[in-house]
Amino acid sequence: MTKPPHPTDTGKPLKRIHLAAHFPGVNNTTVWSDPEAGSHIEFASFAHFARTAERAKFDFLFLAEGLRLREQHGKIYDLDVVGRPDTFTVLAALAAVTDRLGLTGTINSTFNEPYEVARQFASLDHLSDGRAAWNVVTSWDAFTGENFRRGGFLPQEERYSRAKEFLATAHDLFDSWHGDEIVADPATGTFLRDAKAGSFVHTGQHFDIHGQFDVPRSPQGRPVIFQAGDSEEGREFAASSADAIFSRHARLDAGKAFYADVKSRLAKYGRRHDQLLILPAATFVLGDTDAEAEERAREVRRLQVSGATALRHLEFVWNRDLSSYDPEGPLPDIDPDTGDEHLVRGRAQVREYHDRLAVAREWRELAAAHDWSIRDLVIHTGNRQSFVGSPATVARAIDAFVQTDASDGFILVPHLTPGGLDEFADTVVPLLQEQGVFRTEYEGTTLRDHLGLTHPGHAHDGRRPEPEHAGAEQRVAS
């Protein structure tokens, strides 16, 4: 079979697409009511999902994190999937049932300490033969803090500086071993070349620690670093030192603008265009035909946004009890409560609606223009980037997205757990492979290999990585 001509004529060499899979955690993407929906806790679900991703030659599996159950009206939010396992523990177990798949975990820097987190990621990197990645997030809120010794005392304005220093400190620990310290020669009795292996000192605003790190240098040197923020500061951090961005801008135009902006910042840090990958989250719905897929997508959206869910989501903006409204009816004519007390707790996205009156106005106009009910509005506004169509259509759309520099690939979030990736792996991936834009076999063994990233500060040459400006932006991925 001859390879069909590539449909996107950009005059540039074709980019290789990066694909990853997000095991959906707590969100309202997951259609838990589907008869095919399985457990979101049992290891068999994670193993199935990971094996599918590896069969499809994906770069990595992604896990989000949440450290307090969400509340609304002072009660635990019960309409979405609730509950998830511990990130490190699941990733370490998945390392046993996969060989090449990268293992990316979101770990909060606010309610952990650098020594412990660095030790866990270095351990995971060893135990997976170099497949670990860390999506650095931070949180300041006292609500989540109530589960931790540190509590909620961290002032909001300090969250960035703590996150930056946290990551810099972790790097000090990762780099405290060079990789050639363990001799383990039974004949001479020398185990360690240097009694001071792992020595570190970090003195800063948030951390004043010193001693010896106790995990030798891991296969990747340090885990791949993901960043998930969007602010000016977040973009600078990503450009300076993250390996990949878990981005929110997955619509084509916004994606292109974000991509161009962030990549243009790389040069001043002496970094190349390909040293930072931009990977938005995206969902997908497939069908035999485009029409069938569109129909399925409509059904999926209706299942994701029940009437009750629609009302609760409207409350994110209105900040009032809207239980008495009909989700199939018009938007409330009362204005949002603009007070500081939040009806909704434990959700990052609520902070995006800081000007509630403006959002309400915009939503009313949208609803009026399209004759949308409350539920219709939430269905349409709450949707993230979604690829809908036949496998050929979806493959084309993903490829076009990447070839036109709106992203370097995607982190796919299936709406079914754990089988939601299977159809994509079986139908879309082969088409991308035929186009020559996606790997047919893993070319390397580590996640850095898959992502085309260099291994930092390799051991024996005594080279140390440049000091880095590090930080992360609040984004508790859902």
Binding site: W32, S33, I41, E42, F43, G66, L67, R68, L69, I76, D78, L79, D80, V82, G83, R84, P85, D86, F88, T89, V90, A92, A93, A96, F111, N112, E113, Y115, E116, R119, Q120, A122, S123, H126, L127, S128, E146, N147, F148, G151, W177, I182, A184, P186, G189, T190, F191, L192, A195, A197, G198, D208, I209, G211, D214, V215, P216, S306, A308, T309
Partner: protein
């Protein structure tokens, strides 16, 4: 799931995994694979070996600093194993590769968060299908506190009675609170909290999720956990104890306590003390295993075992000493000793292989058959959870309405 009616083995056996073994020169022995200590394959092989021997569980040692030959301070030695991987992650990594054996990583209460730890062990229980436990430890090492920079750990005076030093009792009281929080979080979801009620659109019944509202001297934790109740309900809680204060921690909070008697008289006294503390804690009727810890050198002849110990001591440059009794002899002699110590009320043993690559296979392939011949040890795994293997019932949820 665990089955309380299962008759568990009359004697229980665990092994404690630490590096290449408990003797500091163990890494120099043939078969020790010291260069593989930081690979998954090394640990998978050790646990598979223990599982072939039908052992109840393995423990994984851990700490928050480099190993040291000194109790409280780092040393400058380069002739012993240094560096290790996180024990919870090792346990998780081997869980999918094993089917029956319990997995009990060490966790350090002094510097970690009970919320994180509770969900990690709950998840290990989910990942292993009900085979998770933890061994809780304190850290009284000032240099480990310096790795965290959040608190100072007052220097313990090793010449004084540890139980009389407030800094020690504080660390143990904190550990007791820590375990209390971990246990409450495990119960913070009732077993049937996830309802997936399509009609009302509710995924969980929030009346079956519980704030634990723990407030103690050392920390406060709100709850509930983010992780649903683990398969065992309560994974196994274990602790090593040498003196009264830690005995009290064992008596109050543990399912298994490890103790270090050097003879039957000591064993009897320790068991009596723990049982008395247990009664004082209002747990008199509850099952609590007390395991004796022993470092073991096992060979065909006692002379061979003693020679091996002498050779390793030579390598190390000093006679090996341990908190636990050091046994060097044949599997049959060890079986005799376990029988003798077992008569004191100890319900099992945690063996510390002096050289993992040598003594762990000897436990599974030589000692276990000997114990089986004597009718003291299981011939097949009789339950599919760790609690089941130990004859412990699956506990009711403290928050569930009666």
């Amino acid at each position: 799931m665990s089955d309380a009616s299962t008759v568990s083995s009359p004697l229980h056996l665990a092994v404690a995994l630490d590096g290449t073994g408990w003797h500091p020169a163990s890494w120099r022995e043939p078969g020790s694979r010291p260069r593989e200590l930081f690979t998954a394959g090394y640990w998978a092989d050790q646990v598979a070996e223990a599982e072939r021997g039908l052992l109840d569980f393995v423990t994984f040692e851990d700490g928050l600093g480099l190993q040291s030959s000194l109790l409280l301070d780092p040393d400058d030695r380069t002739d012993q194993v240094r560096g290790r991987l996180d024990a919870v992650l090792i346990a998780s990594r081997v869980a999918p590769l094993t089917q029956h054996i319990g997995l009990v990583p060490t966790v350090i209460a002094t510097h970690t968060e009970p919320f994180h730890l509770s969900k990690a062990i709950a998840t290990l229980d989910h990942v292993s299908g009900g085979r998770a436990g933890l061994r809780v430890r304190i850290s009284a090492r000032p240099h480990e506190a310096d790795h965290f920079g959040r608190r100072r750990v007052p220097r313990v005076d090793l010449a004084e009675n540890l139980s009389a030093q407030p800094s020690v009792t504080d660390l143990f009281d904190e550990a007791a609170d820590y375990v209390e929080v971990v246990r409450r979080l495990w119960d913070s979801w009732e077993d049937d909290a996830e309802i997936r009620d399509v009609v009302t659109g509710r995924f969980v019944d929030r009346d079956k999720l519980h704030y634990i509202d723990f407030e103690g001297r050392f920390f406060r934790v709100k709850g509930p956990s983010i992780t649903p109740r683990p398969p065992q309900g309560q994974p196994l809680v274990t602790a090593l104890a040498h003196q009264n204060v830690p005995y009290r921690l064992v008596a109050r909070q543990a399912d298994v306590g490890y103790v270090t008697p050097h003879d039957t008289g000591q064993a009897r006294a320790i068991v009596a003390e723990i049982r008395a503390e247990q009664e004082a804690a209002g747990r008199a009727g509850e099952p609590l295993h007390v395991f004796g810890d022993l470092v073991v050198f096992l060979d065909e002849t006692r002379a061979a075992a003693e020679d091996r110990l002498a050779r390793l001591d030579d390598f190390a440059g000093a006679p090996y000493t341990s908190d636990a009794r050091v046994f060097a002899g044949t599997p049959a002699e060890l079986a005799d000793l376990l029988e003798e110590l077992g008569s004191t009320g100890l319900t099992g043993f945690r063996l510390r292989p002096a050289v993992t690559g040598h003594d762990l296979p000897a436990v599974g392939r030589r000692l276990v058959p000997e114990l089986q011949r004597r009718g003291l040890f299981r011939r097949a795994y009789e339950a599919d959870t760790l609690r089941g293997l130990l004859g412990l019932a699956r506990p009711a949820n403290r928050y569930a309405a009666a």
